[in-house]
């Protein structure tokens, strides 16, 4: 009986957390569209999320593209299908690898930073101070981060697409001996708009989720340094799991027949 009660308690606790998260997300999203707006804060977040993430995103994408070309070549060579390498690289990068890996890298970099910054503001009463200064913390802290992540993740993924495909091209042409013109032609020939768009839609969703998890866990952190540490860990773990789960759902929505 106590086992069933424990399961029930965990389930109810999960539902309560889900409810709190949904209210937080709704409230935050509503403040994105309602004035006053903070363009300086939005710009700062855009630079932080987009510009400063570019090195890590670029490195991730170029090595992913290179490995993908190498692996698919060695695999396809077993049944004389080396010609499909370019297509496999471009489709894998645009549909899956660029959005997912960019999402995971940004979750580690930005989600953790958001949770730590907002969590520290919470435990040092800076968020309370905002309220006493007649400034809504959702509008000032959360809305610019959500909007910036929503805008910048697709931009980052577009750049990751280009760098990733370029990484595959480098290995294919300079190591595996592919003809550059034929490789590029094969890359373009089978690429459809939906391949790129699905990746960008994923990126937008992932960006929102990363910022939401970072802000939510930071905003509700308590108990000093330990609480902020937990908030940071929870933000990264929950964002990563949500990215992987949503990746499947969006793929299903776009490509299932």
């Amino acid at each position: 009986m106590s086992f069933v009660a424990t399961i029930g308690r965990i389930f109810l606790s999960f539902l309560a957390s889900l409810g709190r998260l949904t209210i937080f997300a709704g409230l935050s999203a509503s403040h994105i569209v309602r004035p006053p707006y903070y363009p300086r804060l939005l710009l700062r977040q855009i630079i932080e999320i987009g510009y400063y993430s570019l090195p890590v995103i670029g490195l991730t994408a170029v090595f992913t593209g290179m490995v993908l070309a190498l692996q698919s070549y060695t695999g396809f060579a077993r049944f004389n299908a080396e010609g499909a390498v370019a297509t496999v690289v471009v489709l894998s990068i645009t549909r899956e690898l660029a959005p997912v890996l960019t999402g995971l890298m940004v979750a580690g970099r930005i989600g953790a930073a958001m949770a730590a910054e907002i969590g520290t503001m919470r435990v040092t009463e800076q968020i309370d101070a905002l309220s006493t200064l007649a400034t809504n913390p959702y509008k000032y802290l959360i809305a610019p981060r959500l909007l910036a992540a929503l805008i910048m993740l697709p931009c980052c993924v577009l750049i990751a697409d280009i760098i990733g495909v370029f990484g595959g091209y480098l290995v294919a042409v300079h190591k595996l001996g592919f003809n550059p013109a034929i490789y590029l032609k094969n890359s373009w020939q089978f690429l459809e708009l939906v391949d790129v768009v699905s990746g960008l839609v994923k990126a937008g969703v992932f960006g929102f989720l990363i910022a939401l998890m970072g802000c939510y866990h930071g905003f509700h952190s308590k108990g000093g340094a330990q609480g902020v540490g937990s908030a940071t860990t929870n933000a990264v773990v929950s964002a990563s799991i949500l990215i992987l789960g949503c990746n499947y759902l969006i793929t299903e929505a776009f490509f299932s027949r």
Binding site: T124, E125, Q126, D128, A129, S131, T132, L133, A134, T135
Partner: protein
């Protein structure tokens, strides 16, 4: 009988966290222009009371009126309108560590009152000078200055918008006695210059005597004594006597240890 109107009126205020009852049917009137210190041992709910008044927390029941307007349940723009008339110095100063000092001080002027950045910077420098910090500090960040200087900046931020009501949460906690004295004097100066109503939460009797005209003793979630600061030594209230003389064998220590007082 006070000739001034009631600025803040608290009636039947209760607040609990789980099974812990922090505020129990608390009543208090603060008149316009008064500087009131709420004293009491640590952990008796003084900061919770303050957070309920400024809207950071919501009481479980009871009424909080500021200028005769009920503020319990106010949210959004309505609450912001009330808060524009308040200024608060937090226990740890609570400065925004991503902003330079001048932006911290002028935050309310820019964010809530829409002042331009150049005008806000000028005002911020004036306020920093008012609390004894020169203009050269304007571009420094909170992490670059001492705890005492942070309190000064927090005070400058609290008075920046010239609010009608000022709140001070443990203004001398965490700083040395000399700096504590400086902060106390600055608080008295600022409150007088603004003609503001002030409410200070403290367990530092020296600070309470310096800052306040009136003292309210908080014990077990209630106000148990209110009187002029110069009458506190002859209050005739056992709990007040025990607190100001720091006696261990008392209602206060029994309450904190969870045993019943004799």
């Amino acid at each position: 009988m006070n000739e001034h109107p009631v600025k803040i009126s608290l009636r039947g205020l209760t607040k609990s966290f789980g099974k812990k009852h922090v505020l129990r049917n608390l009543d208090l009137d603060i008149f316009q222009g008064d500087s009131v210190a709420i004293i009491g041992p640590s952990g008796t709910g003084k900061s919770v009371l303050l957070k309920n008044i400024v809207g950071i927390q919501t009481p479980d029941s009871g009424s909080i009126k500021i200028d005769s307007e009920e503020v319990v349940g106010l949210t959004g723009n309505a609450r912001d309108r009330v808060n524009r008339n308040l200024g608060m110095l937090f226990q740890g100063a609570a400065l925004f560590d991503s902003l330079p000092l001048w932006e911290n001080v002028s935050f309310g002027l820019m964010s809530a009152q829409g002042l331009s950045r150049s005008d806000a910077r000028q005002k911020a420098i004036e306020r920093l000078q008012q609390v004894g910090l020169d203009a050269g500090n304007a571009d420094r960040f909170p992490a670059d200055i001492s705890a005492g200087a942070q309190k000064r900046v927090g005070l400058a931020r609290a008075i920046a918008t010239k609010p009608e009501i000022l709140f001070f949460d443990e203004p001398t906690t965490g700083i040395d006695p000399v700096m504590g004295d400086v902060i106390n004097k600055l608080i008295v100066k600022c409150v007088k210059e603004l003609g503001a109503t002030a409410l200070t939460i403290t367990h530092d009797m020296e600070s309470a005597r310096r800052i306040a005209d009136k003292v309210a003793m908080m014990h077990a979630g209630k106000i148990v004594w209110v009187g002029d600061v110069d009458k506190i030594d002859d209050s005739g209230n056992e709990i007040v006597d025990q607190f100001i003389h720091g006696r261990l064998d008392s209602h206060i220590s029994n309450a904190r240890l969870g045993t019943s007082a004799a």
